[in-house]
Amino acid sequence: MDRKHIQHLYWRIGFGIAPSPLALLAKKNKKQVVDALFKASETVEPLKIDTTELETLMAAPYEDMKDNMRDFLKLSKEKTKELNAAWIDRLATTNALLREKMTLFWANHFVCEDNNFIYTQKFHNTLRAHALGNFKDFVMAISKEAAMTKYLNTKQNKKQKPNENFARELMELFTLGVGHYTETDIKESARAFTGYGHDLKGDFVFRERQHDEGNKTFFGKTGNFDGDAIIGIILENPQCAHFICEKIYRYFVNDTLDEVRVNEMAQVFYADYDIEKLMRFVLLSDWFYEEQNRGSKIKSPIEFLVGIKTMVPVSFNNAKQELYLQKLLGQTLLDPPNVAGWKGGRSWIDSNTIVLRLKLPSLLLNKGYISKVKQGDIDAVAEASKAIFQKQYGKKFATTAHWETFNEHYKNVPIQDLKSYVLACDMHKPANAYLDGLEKTSKQDYCIQLMSLPEYQMC
C-alpha cells in the first residue's frame, strides 16, 4: 500500500504513524492493512478507574448517603479527571486504534456528562462497546444509560407530565437532524419514553406505572409504542442513515461534503445500520485516499495533543496541567459544552488557540526553544535559552519528553525526509523556503520546527 495512503489512513483512524510501523505496513496491500485495523479492534477493552470508594459511599443507607453527597460529588469530580487522563493515555497507546477513534467520534455525537462518576464511566464504556457495532442497538443502549436519562431529563419524563427533552434531541442531534420531524412527533415520542429510569448502580429501570400505555401516532404510524419501537421507526427513515453518514464523512474524510459519496455510504449503512460495514466501505474505497482529502482537516485539540504524544511520548509531571491544556485548546474530554457537542473544524481555531498550538510542541518537548539558526551558522543560543527556560519555568511547566522513542522510530529516516513523516499536508512554499534556509542542527530541532508550523495542525 502507498505510504502516503497509509499515513492518511492512520491520521484519520488514529493519531499518526511512526516510520518503522509504516515501513512494515507498506509491504501489504490495502485490504490487508484495513483488515488488520478491524482485527485489532475486535475485542472491547473497557476503560475503568477504580470506583470502590464511590460504591461504598453509594451503598450506605439513604440517610447517610444524603450526608455523604458532598464527598461523593467531590470524589466523582476527581475520578472524572482521572478518567480524562486515562482516556488520553489510552488514545496514545492503544492497539485498538479504530475502536478508540470511533469512541472519540461517538462521544461528540451522543454527547453527555454527569456528576456521578459511576454513571459517567458506564456511559463512556457503552460508547466504546458499540463503537463499531449496530447503530440501532447503540441508540437503544444510549437511551437507557443512567447518565443520559439524567442529562436529557428522561428521568423526569412521566405519563402525567411528559418531558420532551430527550425525544427532541434524539431526533435533532442523534438520528435525523433538524427539520425532519414535527413538534407533534416530539410530543408523541416523548410519551413512549415515559417511565425510563435507573437504579442506584446506574442500571436501567423501566417504571411501568409512569409509562404511558396509550396509543401514540408517530411518523404516520399508530400503536402503543415504547422507546425502542420509536427508535426502530426513526431508523426506518433513510434520512437517519444519511445524517449519520454525513457526520462520519465530515469527521473521517473531509469537512466539505461530497453528496455522491455520502449517498453511497448511506446506502451501505441503511441496509442494516452496521457501523463496522460502513467504516470498511469507507476505508476500502479509493476516494477516501484521494488527494483533496489528504491533509485537509484541522486536527481537533485531542488529535493534536495525542498526535504529539504518538510521535514523542510526553508525560506531564502534574496531571492537572494536561487537563488545563485541554481547556486552553478548547476541548476537555468528558466536559462537553452542551448536548450539541463541539462544533469542530475551523471553530477550533481562534487567536488564542492558534498561537498556543504553534508554541506548544516546543514548550512540551524542547524547553520552549525553536531553532532559528541560518544555514551554516552554529546554534549558540540554544543551550543558554533552554537553561533560562528550565530555571524560570521548569517547575511550573514540568514535562518529561521521551525523545529516545522518537530517535528509535525515526533512526532510518534521513533528516531531509522528516517532513513527509511529521506533516500530513504539503508545506506552503514560503514556509518551506524559510525552513530550507535554516540549519538542520539535529533531527530533534528540525522536528520541533516542523511541529511549530500551521501545517502541523492539519491531518
Binding site: 452542551n338 488564542n352 492558534i354 498561537v355 508554541k359 525553536i370 524560570q392 519555568y393 524559510y434
Partner: protein, 411 residues
C-alpha cells in the same frame, strides 16, 4: 498549575537574547516588504462600531439573589429563611421595603448617584437548574429546549465585529458566550504575555513571507490568516494599552485584577466593544452566609474601584456594566444553612446613562412560587440583551438573538 500567563511569559526569555534583538532591528527596516494584506489586518477598526462599551460580569455558581436584594418587610422571606434571612437592621435599605446585602455598601453609593438599576425576577421559560445548562442558556441566549454552538456575543461579532479584539474576555480561555460562527473573541489576562507569545520570531518569519494567494478558502490558509490576525491583534492590544496604567487603587484579588485590566484597555481607547469577566464560587449549598458575604464584598469593592477609575478617565459615560448569574437560589433555606439551585434572579445594570434608575420592577412577593418553591420569572433575560444590543451597542438585536424580543426602558 501554570496559566496562559506563564505559558506566554516564556516567550520573553526566548525573544530577549541578543541575537534575536539584532535580528529584530534588521527586520524593522524591512517593514516596507510586509504584504499589503497584513497591513489590512492591522488596520484599526473604524469608528462605525460606535464608542460605547459593554462590560459583562458573570457571577458563576448561582448567586442567591434573595439575600442580595432583600425584601425585609416580607414575613414570608423570614419564614422561609429562619437562619439565612438577613435582618432589616443589617441590610442597607434602598426604600421602606427593600435593602441590599450588607457587603454591598459600594453599590449603594452607585445607587444613590443614580448609576445603578436593579432588574428583578429575571429568567426564562422552563428554567433549568443545572449550572452547566443554565449558564449555557444565558451564554447562548437560546430557548431552554434548544442548543447552540455559538454565544450571543460571538454572534454579535459575526454580524457586527471586524476584529477578534472587538470583544475581549479577561481569562485564559473563551467562554461559549464569546464564540461566533465565523469570529471568536480574544481571551487574555495579560496583553504583554499574549504579545510575546505571538511574536515568536519563528512565527513572524513564516507569516511575513505569506502572499495573498495563500489565504484561500482552504483550511490551511485559514490557519495562516488566523495566525496573522492573532499577531496583529496581540500587537495592537499591547501597543495601544502599554502606556496606560491605572492610578486608582484596586482591591488585591483576582476579580479586581480583571477589572483593572479592563479599565486599562478601556481607558487606552482600545476598539473593544464588549468585555467579559467573571467571579465564581456562588454555589452556596452549605453555610451560605460567610461565603456570600465575602464574594459580594469582592464584587462590590471591585466594581466601585472600576467605576472610579473609568470616571477619572471620562470613560464611564460610555460604559455599561451588566452583572448576571446563571440562576437564583431556592427561597427556602436547606438543612445545611445554605440554599439549593433556584430560578429567577436579579440583574444589575450600572452606568450613568440610565433612563430608569434604582429598582426597575418590584421584587417577587413570594406568594406565587413555582412547584419547586422557586421564584417565577417576570422578565426574560433576552429582553435585557435585546435592549443592550439595540439601545446601547446600537445594532440589530434580532440578528444576534435570532428572534425579536421586547425592548425594556432602563437605557
Amino acid at each position: 498549575m501554570y496559566s496562559t500567563y506563564v505559558v506566554t511569559r516564556i516567550s520573553n526569555v526566548l525573544i530577549m537574547d541578543r541575537r534575536d534583538f539584532i535580528k529584530h532591528s534588521a527586520l524593522a527596516s524591512s517593514l516596507f516588504f510586509v504584504p499589503s494584506f497584513v497591513k489590512a489586518f492591522e488596520q484599526v477598526a473604524s469608528g462605525t462600531l460606535g464608542y460605547k462599551r459593554l462590560v459583562i460580569i458573570q457571577l458563576s455558581g448561582g448567586n442567591d439573589g434573595l439575600n442580595t436584594v432583600i425584601p425585609f418587610q416580607n414575613d414570608l422571606y423570614y419564614k422561609a429563611r429562619p437562619v439565612l434571612g438577613i435582618q432589616k437592621n443589617e441590610s442597607i435599605p434602598l426604600n421602606n421595603e427593600v435593602g441590599l446585602h450588607p457587603s454591598l455598601a459600594p453599590l449603594k453609593r452607585l445607587y444613590d448617584a443614580g448609576h445603578l438599576a436593579i432588574i428583578n425576577n429575571v429568567g426564562y421559560p422552563n428554567p433549568n437548574r443545572s449550572h452547566f445548562r443554565s449558564m449555557d442558556i444565558w451564554q447562548t441566549a437560546t430557548d431552554a429546549n434548544t442548543y447552540s454552538q455559538t454565544g450571543w456575543i460571538g454572534r454579535y461579532l459575526d454580524h457586527f465585529g471586524k476584529q477578534p479584539y472587538n470583544a475581549i474576555e479577561i481569562d485564559d480561555s473563551l467562554s461559549l458566550a464569546m464564540k461566533g460562527e465565523t469570529l471568536n473573541a480574544i481571551a487574555t489576562q495579560d496583553a504583554k504575555a499574549f504579545y510575546n507569545l505571538a511574536r515568536e520570531p519563528f512565527f513572524k518569519n513564516i507569516t511575513n513571507r505569506m502572499g495573498d494567494a495563500h489565504l484561500s478558502d482552504h483550511n490551511l490558509g485559514y490557519l495562516y490568516k488566523t495566525m496573522i490576525e492573532a499577531q496583529s491583534s496581540a500587537k495592537y492590544i499591547f501597543e495601544t494599552t502599554k502606556t496606560v496604567s491605572s492610578t486608582k487603587i484596586y482591591p488585591n484579588d483576582a476579580f479586581a485584577n480583571q477589572l483593572k485590566t479592563m479599565a486599562q484597555f478601556i481607558n487606552a481607547g482600545l476598539e473593544t466593544k464588549v468585555f467579559y469577566g467573571s467571579l465564581g464560587g456562588f454555589d452556596t449549598h452549605v453555610n451560605q452566609l460567610a461565603t456570600q458575604k465575602r464574594l459580594l464584598k469582592t464584587y462590590a469593592e471591585g466594581i466601585e474601584a472600576f467605576v472610579q477609575d473609568l470616571k477619572a478617565n471620562n470613560t464611564f459615560k460610555d460604559t455599561l456594566i451588566l452583572t448576571f448569574s446563571e440562576f437564583g437560589r431556592r427561597v427556602n433555606q436547606n438543612a445545611s444553612i445554605g440554599t439549593d439551585h433556584g430560578t429567577a434572579n436579579n440583574v444589575f445594570i450600572i452606568g450613568n446613562q440610565l433612563k430608569k434608575q434604582g429598582l426597575y420592577n418590584n421584587l417577587s412577593n413570594l406568594t406565587d412560587l413555582d412547584e419547586s418553591g422557586d421564584i417565577k420569572f417576570e422578565i426574560d433575560f433576552r429582553t435585557i440583551y435585546a435592549t443592550v444590543l439595540n439601545k446601547w451597542l446600537e445594532v440589530n438585536d434580532a440578528k444576534v438573538l435570532d428572534k425579536t424580543f421586547n425592548q425594556l426602558d432602563f437605557i
